[in-house]
């Protein structure tokens, strides 16, 4: 079992983000189109990593609500890139065997005749290993 410290380091490494650069301006949360669906808000991600509370982070539903639309990455004045932190937390989840947010068995339920391949490919890549 990895310690919280290990996992925090892993998130920093995978994301390439230095959470200490954040000045807590909240521009990420102000920009996020999924803000209302998130339990941990974009600007709070850095604090969880700094405080090494990765357990809360990986159990957060926010991981699955992020669109990777890069609005937070584009607008962050401190070059923190919160979207990359969120993705790194998601990676931690999906890289642990068996953890996924999308099961192939679910697929038939979810698609319709117009569903583009791109949607399935993208979702698989974000939600599964």
């Amino acid at each position: 079992m990895k310690t919280e410290k290990n996992r925090a380091e892993m998130i920093k490494e995978i994301s390439g983000v230095n959470p200490l650069k954040c000045m807590k301006c909240g521009k990420c949360s102000a920009s996020c189109p999924s803000y209302n669906e998130m339990d941990i808000k974009p600007h709070q991600f850095v604090s969880y990593v700094i405080n090494e509370d990765i357990e809360s982070l990986v159990n957060s539903k926010s991981l699955w609500k992020c669109l990777s639309c890069f609005a937070c990455v584009e607008r962050c004045p401190r070059d923190v890139k919160p979207g990359k932190l969120i993705d790194a937390a998601r990676q931690i989840v999906v890289r642990e065997r068996g953890n996924t947010y999308l099961d192939p068995d679910e697929i038939p339920e979810l698609i319709d005749p117009d569903t583009p391949q791109q949607l399935l490919v993208s979702a698989f890549r974000r939600y599964r290993r």
Partner: protein, 265 residues
């Protein structure tokens, strides 16, 4: 002018129109799209993890293929464009990724980001020129009020994509003007449609698309254009059919007078 062309999975299937109209328009405009042989799916989303290598290799293969032919690589789908452009940037500027990817690929000559990646719209703007395009329009789309929908992937991150001003782009508007139609500028044109989230969180995507469409029609648009099959799907699915959505290439073909021919065939 000959380009290597990376269509991507969806353009071979659900988004055949995007591909088809692009090809016939290119021919009319005097450039050729030569499809890369044996391309593989780009993965749809750019792998953000700095340690991801395997997921970037399909892009590297396409990029290297173009390099070997000495051609620039043209893409159409916003997602493919985003992924391939960013992987190319990694190969050019990130030592670790370049080294590891090359170790994996074992190419004759290591790939180091030499290929120039162009979106079809960039070819129109930077190579053909919108003024030149305007001259070739035989069937100007007069009276049409078109909202350009950029979405997120073409524009962001602005520094890497270097496509246009990420907060106030104008390439599609200039394109619309060149076709003889009137562009409608609306503030949600660079907001996300929900992307892949529509698979599992339909309501979120619905809400986002509703905002986009409301904003566009509020400013007087009577149709939207996009470069992305997924945007197209989300917008269409969540749209009360009030605002039709087209691929930009379809309107291009129409303005160039190529569309009827096709339909007759």
């Amino acid at each position: 002018m000959k380009y290597s062309y990376y269509p991507g999975c969806t353009l071979k299937n659900k988004a055949q129109d995007l591909d088809h109209y692009a090809r016939i328009s290119a021919e009319a405009l005097g450039f050729e799209l030569e499809e890369i042989s044996e391309w593989q799916c780009c993965g749809g989303v750019y792998p953000l993890g700095t340690d991801e290598i395997a997921t970037k290799l399909s892009s590297v293969r396409a990029l290297n293929d173009a390099k070997e032919k000495g051609q620039d690589l043209v893409t159409l789908c916003s997602a493919c464009h985003h992924v391939i452009k960013r992987v190319n940037d990694d190969m050019k500027n990130v030592d670790d990724i370049r080294t590891r990817a090359n170790n994996y690929m074992a190419l004759d000559e290591p790939y180091a980001g030499e290929t120039k990646v162009l979106h079809y719209l960039e070819v129109l703007r930077d190579v053909i020129g919108f003024d030149e395009l305007k001259k070739k329009v035989t069937n100007p789309l007069k009276g049409k009020k078109i909202g350009a929908y950029y979405g997120c992937l073409l524009l962001r991150p602005g520094k890497l994509m270097a496509f246009d001003d990420p907060e106030n782009p104008k390439i599609m508007e200039d394109f619309i003007r060149a076709l003889g139609a009137e562009p409608v500028i609306y503030p949600y044109r660079n907001e996300c449609c929900g992307g892949y989230i529509s698979l599992k969180e339909e309501d979120m995507s619905k809400e986002m698309c509703r905002k986009i469409e409301k904003s566009a029609s509020g400013f007087g648009a009577d149709m939207l254009i996009t470069a992305c099959p997924l945007c197209m799907y989300n917008l269409n699915k969540n749209n009360g059919d009030n605002l039709p959505v087209y691929y930009f290439t379809e309107l291009l073909a129409e303005a160039l007078g190529l569309k009827e021919e096709v339909e007759e065939q």
